[in-house]
């Protein structure tokens, strides 16, 4: 039991930390496309971690399955939404800011 609680606490803490990190990233990063990465950060690992954190605390019941469903849903839909957003932004005239020098971005392939 203690193990579970420690594990849960760890998950929650790390999840929370990553969550805030994503938020900071959202603010700090220079352009839209980079910010997408930051957003992805909070969603891909932070969300499951947080959910896992409460799963570990919960008594065994069907609710656990529900949390799992939520997790799957979040994991399935968020990257998709992010991807759709990125694509839309690209077509909507957002120029990705390309890092100086070493990236030979093939911006010409823009549709």
């Amino acid at each position: 039991m203690l193990l579970l609680e420690i594990l849960s606490g760890f998950c929650l803490l790390v999840g929370g930390f990553l969550c805030v990190t994503g938020g900071i990233g959202l603010l700090r990063l220079p352009d839209f496309f980079s910010r997408v990465h930051a957003a992805g950060l909070t969603e891909t690992l932070a969300a499951p971690l947080l959910l896992a954190g409460i799963m570990l605390q919960m008594p065994w019941s069907l609710d656990l399955l529900k949390v799992l469903f939520i997790m799957i849903l979040v994991l399935a839909t968020n990257p998709t939404a992010t991807h759709a957003m990125a694509k839309a932004a690209l077509h909507g005239g957002q120029e990705p800011q390309i890092g100086n020098g070493n990236g030979q971005g093939e911006t010409s392939s823009k549709a």
Binding site: A76, T80, A84
Partner: protein, 317 residues
């Protein structure tokens, strides 16, 4: 408190923004926050509905309108003084009104005293379902809900009168931001069955937990809205033809009414579900199930019809 602060911030931002797209998005977020607040105030069912309706349906409908009317609001030509005065007076009146109001959460407030205890104490016994909100909604105040169903039906009629639905498949939409995204299509196709089942789950579990016909109808409609958004309206209309919708909507309302009339013909008052079975509580249960079904069908079809009507409209050249 934090939620309320969020709400205030969002509301202020919504006033200042002139990009209506953003305003609508903020409104959706606002709704979502309100729903969270409702959760905190123990109003589970309301939170459920607000999330599905305010953030979901309303937002989508507004967005589809914006597509037709343009994104930018012009700077208002009138000074804000007069509205501010009106708002100031109204707000002052409201604040004045709250001064004598019972404090938040006071168990001795009149609200908690008079009518409510019976719902809480007797509701589960008399109507036979743990969710008192559903008991009150569908049975004690079933007639309000009957009216509510008609409100949504009326809205459907109104939108159909105003816009009509273009029948049959249309050509694929023009260059929208989603375009023809493969990833989206696959994921959405995977998610939709879950949404459908979830909606039906919500429909039939209103007795036990949050949810009920209205929420279920909205979620079910949302599934098709999602399908329409990603696969284009042509496909969506082949799956659920518009010509079904207004008929379904009417049938749902009639189902509700028929349950009421059945009671009436059985010599009981209108909507008295105990007439439906020998055991009154069983009758109540059956009645609630049926009327919730009616509500669900109506809400689903009308919401979808409204969405079809708005999104199928072509931009005036």
């Amino acid at each position: 408190m934090v939620l309320l602060a969020f709400l205030v911030l969002i509301a202020l931002a919504a006033i200042r923004m002139r990009d209506l797209f953003i305003v609508v998005m903020l409104f959706s977020v606002y709704s979502l926050m309100t729903a969270a607040l409702f959760m905190d105030l123990d109003a589970v069912d309301v939170a459920f509905t607000e999330a599905a309706v305010g953030a979901g349906v309303t937002g989508v409908l507004m967005l589809s309108t914006l597509r037709l009317t343009g994104r930018w609001e012009r700077r208002p030509s009138h000074g804000p003084l007069l509205p501010l005065i009106v708002v100031g007076i109204t707000g002052a009146a409201l604040i004045y009104g709250t001064l004598d109001a019972p404090l938040l959460g006071d168990p001795a407030a009149p609200v908690q005293q008079h009518v409510a205890p019976r719902y809480i104490e007797q509701g589960p016994v008399e109507v036979g379902m743990p969710n008192m909100v559903t008991a009150v909604l569908a049975s004690y105040r079933g007639f309000d809900t009957f009216g509510e169903t008609f409100v949504i039906f009326t809205a459907g009629i109104a939108v159909l009168l105003l816009l009509g639905i273009q029948e049959g498949p249309e050509t694929r939409p023009g260059r929208t931001a989603i375009g023809d995204q493969l990833v989206l299509r696959v994921v959405v196709k995977m998610v939709i069955p879950l949404i459908l089942l979830y909606a039906l789950y919500v429909q039939f579990h209103g007795d036990f937990g949050a949810g009920g016909g209205f929420q279920a109808g909205v979620i079910l409609a949302t599934a098709f809205v999602l399908y329409d958004l990603v696969f284009g309206e042509g496909d969506a209309r082949l799956v659920v033809p518009p010509s079904w919708l207004h008929r379904l909507g009417a049938l749902g309302v009639l189902l509700y009414g028929a349950v009421g009339l059945y009671a009436l013909f059985a010599g009981k008052p209108f909507l008295d579900y105990s007439a439906l079975a020998h055991d009154p509580v069983h009758g109540q249960h059956l009645g609630v199930l049926l009327v919730e079904l009616g509500v669900g069908i109506t809400v689903f079809s009308i919401v979808l019809a409204i969405f079809y009507a708005l999104s199928g409209r072509r931009k005036a050249s």
